[in-house]
Amino acid sequence: MTVLTDVPAQDSARLTAGAKAALITVIVGAVCLVLEGFAPWLIQWPAAWELPATQWVGNFLDWSLNAIKPFARLFSDVMAYPMNWANFVLSNTPWPILIGLVTALGWYLGGLPMAALGFLGLSFVLASGYWAESMNTLALVAVSVPVALILGGAIGILANEVPKVKSFVQAVLDVMQTVPTFAYLTPLLLLFGFGPVVGLIASAIYAAPPMARNVMLGLERVEPEIKEAAIMSGGTRFQQLFQVEIPAAATQIMVGVNQCLMAALSMVIIAAVIGGFNDIGWEVLLTMRKAQFGESLLAGLVIVVFAVVIDRMSGTLATERKRYDQKVVWAMLAFAAAFTAVFWARLPNPADLTLLDPVAQAVDNGLTTFTQNNGPWLDALKNNSLFYVLLPLRIGLDQAVLPFTWGFQWTAQMSYGLFVFGAVIALVFAWRGHLTGGLVALILIGMLETGVSNLPWPFVLTGAAALGWVAGGSRLAVLVVALLSTILVSGLWERALLSLYLSGAAVFFCAVFGGLIGLACAVWEPIWKIVRPICDMLQTIPLFVFLIPVLMVFQIGEFSAFLAICAYAIVPMIRYTRHGLVNTPDEMMEAAISSGATDWQIMRDVRAPYAAPTILLGLNQTILYAFAMLVIAALIGTTGLGQSIYLALGQADVGLGISAGAAMAILALVADRIVQGFAEERRQALGL
């Protein structure tokens, strides 16, 4: 493993790995810039060189999917039974009984707070008038979750029992985590046809991996002595597993159940995109398309309520062993039943309840007034961000600087000037002993001039390889180049760069602001008290719902997508930064204090370096989150791979859907491996 450090001036004759990598990248970039005029193929991979990989994938999948289609259809027919049944039960149970059940369950799991949460949550759903739609959604979740739990549990146990399978399963789970949700849907659509069953199966497939992961992790983390005690007690393997190891891993497995539930809910809602059937996700989509933002927000809130209730209640499974008095449970159920019986004739049909309609109306009106009153200001924010930040980043200063926006025309001289400026900076840095930093600055300036979407591909490949090499040695570099090359030759390169640009911009924003917020939270506890529930909330909300508020204020477009991505992806950065900074071992802090360091010195010299690996992991999560949201954000207007996946879904084009999904997964995987590599390197440097 190589170590990235700044070279002291006196022995800069021997370059560090980082400096070498940066130098090579600079040279390749410079060569590409010089040759740009003579060899346009350096910038744009010629269409003639593209392999029709998308078509191949499409043909192959079409063929193989058609082959298993009869079985799939049979399966979907079978699955339709429990689904219809769950649907029937849920939509025909009188609502007081259901509210009573959820409240009682809440009490049993978490006492008064959970009971109150369940009661208020469902009452809100009832009042919103989306009861019937919610029950349809819930029915899907109710069927897909057991399937996912069994599937995930079985995979997890299998991987635990057969070591040879383990690394394979791990790899598949890794990939599944990075493949965007929409990409799942296209082949499923082809297999199962339109309809709610697709959503059901998609959500079962999507929700199984977290369960499998947690089962594997839980079983792995059972104390070795507990396992040995089971062996020495003379248990057969079956007895060891089911009587000792699985119960001992229960807490971790319950975390899996919680994540499984949330994933299923999230996917069921997203699946509305491929054809609604009167569920709550469809309602959001419909009202969003009709620009009825008040209703859309209301329906979105119903989703949030469900997410929060399900998350918090199942969360107690993983944390508390305490269970509450069952008498209260029975009392609650009896009360609900009595209530239903007494008011049977007068129970309002939940669909007719419009208690919150005025609110929705008011929100709609308020929003219109708000946007009208603040129009100039909001427009200015949006346009300034677009023209002065996002656009130059995307197509480069040389194309983005126009008299129309910036007030002057970019000229070739300016480019030269900028490059000279960059070179001077690099020299100054190098002279002061920070050669690597100087070269990186030069590279960044060069990228700003060219624009991410216009970067020559040899430069991107070299840069990625250089990063991979510094982070994880030559093996990672080769892996990175191989993976990225598949995107290049399959003709998805341009779109991949566009995705890279938008997610890159969002990740950069999240890293800076999330890092600052995390720092503030670490330094000053009261801020964390405010930020924490917001973070909790943002992580509970299904991706889809993020689109509603940004859409309300900023309409469709790249800026809205950017905001939605940032809102979702900033959370891990905040959390990990704070966590890393706060968890400096007391002994280290005390050693620093007793050495007479000021607060600021402690932060800079002790806490920040110690937190670096954790913060890098946060950055890694942020990147993965950004990619996940990027695809969802395609609904409100982004270009790039996300858009392709979404289009493919509309046209049932499996080849494009899967290829674009794979490209997306590759980008995420490459980013993941590189950042993990740096984090690992830091951890080892700290001896953690």
Binding site: E223, E225, I226, E228, A229, A230, I231, M232, S233, G234, G235, T236, Q239, Q243, V244, P247, A248, A250
Partner: protein
């Protein structure tokens, strides 16, 4: 119990080597070095393998308390896991009551564990989701013993370790000492012949540790199990052991009675251990006495073979002539010169 000639456990040329393809590497290393264990171990290390146990040879007699002592990383935990077959063993043989268990079938091992073996773990290894009674009864449960019957037996062993009244507690509600009592009770539930204890008291406070050591000796006095006991604490080893094996870097460097270890260490490593212990409290008169027949003086302060040197010295402080030594029955079995007692205590000073 088997007949007294068969040792409870016998290990011959036992190796445990970690690494890919360790078995083959071990065979090759041994044939290259002409069965020179040290050379083979060095070869294996150079090749990137970890020879955690090297060529272990020892016997545990029926009813004997055999202590394996060594620092962390010396391979003692690996060794006990080999004997209990939690690790497969790379080479050599292990005979438990005469039968080789290396390479035995899964079923045979399960049977062996159900009937003959019990094990106590350093960090207790209690099942967190079971109550004390359920934990203790678990070895019976896996054999299909009915609930009532197994809980009744559990009750017996729980009383034996003095945990009455805590049957329905969960492990997390108990103190460390209590948890280890549960671990001990569980390992005794099936009334095994052979009892493995892997640093059972190391995770406990010194006071609790001494209390449990004493109780352990009390239990052993009535049960008379054949015991393999692992520890890194020389004082504990000397206090409990009938015989001690001292391990270093995977090798057994000395096997002997506590007195042997203290008075006749084979090398500096072992001497270093015994330096810290007050020899007078651990070495017995029997280990320094001469044969009967040599002349004795007029005094008879009443020394016995089982007396510690300190106690013996206290009895004949003023004497300058050899005195008789008696065994448990009061028969004179040898003599000892008071100056020998004093000299034995000063071995490490030279």
């Amino acid at each position: 119990m088997t007949d007294t000639n068969t040792p409870a456990i016998a290990c011959r040329n036992l190796w445990q080597v970690f690494g890919q393809g360790a078995e083959k590497a071990l065979t090759e290393a041994l044939s290259r070095s002409g069965d020179d264990a040290d050379q083979a171990a060095a070869d294996l290390r150079d090749a990137g393998f970890i020879p955690a146990v090297q060529d272990a040879n020892f016997e545990v007699r029926d009813g004997e308390l055999f202590v394996i002592m060594g620092l962390s990383g010396s391979g003692k935990s690996t060794l006990i896991r080999c004997i209990s077959q939690l690790l497969p063993g790379t080479g050599g043989e292990i005979r438990v009551e005469g039968e080789n268990v290396v390479g035995a079938s899964k079923k045979a091992l399960t049977d062996l564990r159900r009937k003959k073996l019990g094990m106590v773990f350093q960090h207790f290894g209690l099942f967190p989701h079971m109550t004390v009674a359920e934990n203790v009864a678990y070895p019976l449960r896996v054999q299909g013993v009915g609930r009532k019957e197994r809980l009744a037996r559990a009750q017996e062993v729980i009383s034996l370790v003095g945990l009455e009244g805590r049957e329905d507690s969960f492990p997390r509600q108990l103190s460390g000492g209590q948890r280890q009592r549960v671990g001990i009770a569980r390992s005794l539930a099936v009334n095994p012949d052979i009892w493995f204890l892997d640093e059972p008291f190391s995770a406990l406070d010194p006071l609790i540790r001494r209390q449990l050591q004493d109780e352990f000796l009390r239990i052993q006095a009535t049960l008379k199990k054949s015991i393999v006991f692992i520890t890194h604490d020389i004082a504990e080893a000397l206090k409990l052991a009938d015989r001690i094996a001292i391990m270093r870097d995977g090798k057994i460097v000395q096997i002997g009675t506590p007195s042997d270890i203290v008075l006749r260490p084979v090398d500096d490593y072992v001497r270093e251990f015994s330096k810290d212990v007050a020899k007078g409290q651990h070495a017995k008169v029997g280990s320094v006495m001469r044969d009967r027949g040599s002349e004795t003086g007029p005094d008879d302060p009443g020394l016995t073979t089982a007396m510690t040197l300190d106690a013996a010295l206290a009895h004949c402080m003023e004497l300058y002539e050899p005195v008789p030594v008696r065994d448990d029955t009061g028969k004179v079995v040898g003599t000892v010169h008071p100056s020998d007692l004093a000299a034995a205590l000063q071995v490490d000073e030279t």
